[in-house]
């Protein structure tokens, strides 16, 4: 005969399980938040206190002046504008081009579709560093060096995004197109009125990943720009490091400012953020 347990037993069991879970989650969160806490406190320290041992978790001397000092070390206002402009333009552009390309590969039939898609996927195997010099030569010969064209145009398409959205479009039933066509709907209208709204989660994923990628872009911007006015925030952060030393307190202050837009984006799009990363398997 099965043992009958009291409701109090189940309550305690559930509470203790939940308690252990919360402790583990709290510990994990603390570990993940530690680098951000360190960044924040280091941004408020003096130069000498940064490398002090044992480390100061709470600064003994609060240097709020590190922020205006970091801001004025390089034209960060311009850098932020460039970062935002470049990220926004590439995001908008990539979303538009990705929708078209993904739909074509998912739902349309044309000669060489599979071969073309395979070739596209093949380009994912080429390390970006190998393409840097050829791309630099191409950009220079186009006369785009040190211009927004170089920062934006090459990034208006992404094979990874096309693949991601194509897979999502393929999951939508073909009957939708059949019934839409019977009602006299054309391809373009079907795409934007029916497919795109249904694919909103995947499109948001593409957009968020692109914006973050554009915001964090360093090597491409460094190579393709020569003047300070065209640089972006990640390149600007290099201003605090040299061959012989780094001004960590200013670097951390500038880094705090640099991640603020992404943090704001995160707070407004939390659910989509988490779903995006879960969908792509990227941590």
């Amino acid at each position: 005969m099965a043992r009958i347990r009291s409701s109090r037993y189940y309550f305690y069991r559930q509470s203790s399980t939940r308690g252990i879970l919360y402790i583990l989650l709290f510990a994990g969160s603390a570990i993940m938040l530690l680098p951000f806490l360190w960044m924040l406190t280091t941004s408020l320290k003096s130069e000498a206190a940064v490398l002090q041992m044992p480390p100061q978790w709470i600064p003994t001397e609060w240097r709020w002046s590190n922020y205006p000092l970091a801001w004025n070390t390089a034209p960060f206002a311009r850098y932020f504008f460039n970062s935002f402009f470049m990220s926004a333009m590439t995001t908008i552009g990539e979303v538009i081009f990705t929708i078209f390309a993904a739909y074509a590969f998912a739902k349309m039939k044309f000669l060489g579709k599979n071969v073309l898609f395979t070739l596209l996927l093949g380009t994912l195997m080429i390390p970006g560093q190998m393409l840097l010099i050829p791309n630099f030569v191409t950009i220079t010969r186009l006369g785009w060096l040190d211009t927004y064209w170089a920062l934006i145009i090459p990034w208006l398409a992404s094979v990874f995004a096309i693949f991601l959205l194509r897979q999502f479009f393929r999951s939508l039933p073909d009957e939708l197109w059949d019934s839409a066509r019977m009602d006299g709907c054309g391809r373009f209208r079907f795409l934007w009125r029916i497919m795109v709204p249904l694919a909103k989660p995947a499109i948001v994923t593409v957009a968020i990943l692109k914006f973050i990628g554009g915001w964090n872009a360093y090597l491409w911007v460094l190579v393709m720009t020569n003047s300070e006015l065209m640089r972006t925030v990640p390149v600007g952060l290099k201003s605090f490091s040299s061959e012989v030393g780094t001004q960590y307190e200013l670097l951390m202050a500038a880094s705090v400012l640099a991640i603020l837009p992404i943090l704001i984006l995160y707070f407004f799009t939390q659910k989509q953020f988490i779903k995006s990363f879960a969908r792509t398997g990227i941590k």
Partner: protein
């Protein structure tokens, strides 16, 4: 009234003329943080002295990034007017450089430190000029090293005495007597030179590292290695907690001193210990090169000559050296009262 209008018109024409004839040159450099501030100050002073020349100072990242950008620009175009370069970057691109020496007087060339003239001369032509040159020095904690080692024997003995055991079990001493940065063959050259050796013979036709001097240098390095913290990272990240003294570039003085202040110790600086034959230090740092490509005008090249000469002028080299830890590259700088007073006031 007519006179006023005429004067104003003439002033306007003059200002327009100056603007119209103002020359703009681009200077690619690899200085960030404090060095960039000091470089900007020099450029501002240059603008005050040469109002018809504008220097666009552009930071291109570290030396590696700068080399990559110059290399890419050689292929694809878009080279600056002036750039910092290392000697080995110049060797393959001599043909597209404007030989600065051809536009310097004999007195100006003689004023450059002797060894730096030869290292900037290619095929008999002074093509580039030295700019930011540092030397290797010995930084040490005064509390642990009251008197810095003067010879290799003292250096080895002190390093061994100050190195502690491996108590945390990571396979390395918990505290090192000494340290070296960076980890590259250049550091060994210092030991080789001080042992009386050289990698190449006089006419560079033969490798001479495998002789008695090379052996002495190699044996010294082998002996001191167990007591040495060797890294490519900033020494300021590890000093003073992890090591009592270390050899590093003089250009890192500010950052190393900040680490000492943070660690509540007094840091001093001394010459690198003497080997069997000499007590020299290798000289690191870059030179200035002017590019001579089709898209750079004669006026820009002439303006660049003025700029380069300004940067290596004695008073400006003293200004640069006092604030950076680099060493003046012209002999006359060492004879200025400002430098003499500075050295007297700063024992390092």
């Amino acid at each position: 009234m007519l006179r006023k209008i005429t004067m104003l018109t003439l002033i306007g024409v003059m200002l327009f003329g100056m603007a119209a004839f103002a020359v703009e040159i681009n200077f690619w450099h690899a200085h960030s943080t404090r060095h960039q501030e000091n470089l900007q100050a020099l450029v501002d002073a240059f603008h005050a002295e040469f109002p018809d020349i504008t220097v666009n100072l552009t930071y291109q990242g570290g030396y590696g990034d700068l080399e990559a950008k110059i290399g890419a620009a050689v292929v694809a175009g878009g080279l600056p007017t002036v750039a910092q370069v290392y000697e080995n970057w110049v060797t393959p691109i001599q043909e597209i450089l404007y030989p600065i020496g051809n536009f310097m007087t004999v007195a100006e060339v003689d004023d450059i430190i002797d060894g730096l003239v030869s290292s900037n001369t290619y095929n008999g032509i002074l093509t580039t000029v030295p700019f930011n040159k540092s030397i290797m020095v010995l930084y040490y904690r005064e509390d642990l090293v009251p008197v810095p080692p003067a010879t290799w024997e003292e250096y080895l003995a002190m390093s061994a005495a100050l190195t502690t055991a491996d108590e945390d079990g990571d396979g390395y001493p918990d505290f090192f007597g000494t340290g070296f940065r960076p980890v590259n063959p250049e550091l060994f050259l210092n030991f080789l030179e001080n042992a009386g050796g050289s990698i190449l013979n006089e006419d560079w036709s033969e490798v001479t590292i495998n002789n008695s001097a090379g052996l002495i240098a190699g044996e010294f390095v082998e002996a001191i290695a167990p007591y040495s913290f060797i890294t490519n990272e900033y020494m300021s990240n590890h000093f003073p907690l992890k090591l009592a003294m270390f050899v590093d570039t003089s250009a890192g003085y500010y950052y190393n001193n900040q680490a000492a202040v943070g660690g509540d110790v007094v840091m001093k600086v001394a010459r690198v210990p003497a080997g069997a034959v000499s007590q020299g230090s290798m000289i690191q740092g870059t030179n200035l090169a002017i590019f001579d490509t089709g898209d750079i005008t004669k006026e820009q090249k002439d303006a660049a000559i003025d700029f380069v000469k300004f940067l290596i002028r004695a008073d400006n080299q003293v200004f640069w050296a006092k604030r950076s830890g680099y060493q003046p590259v012209v002999k006359s700088a060492y004879e200025t009262q400002e430098w003499i007073d500075y050295v007297a006031a700063n024992d390092y």
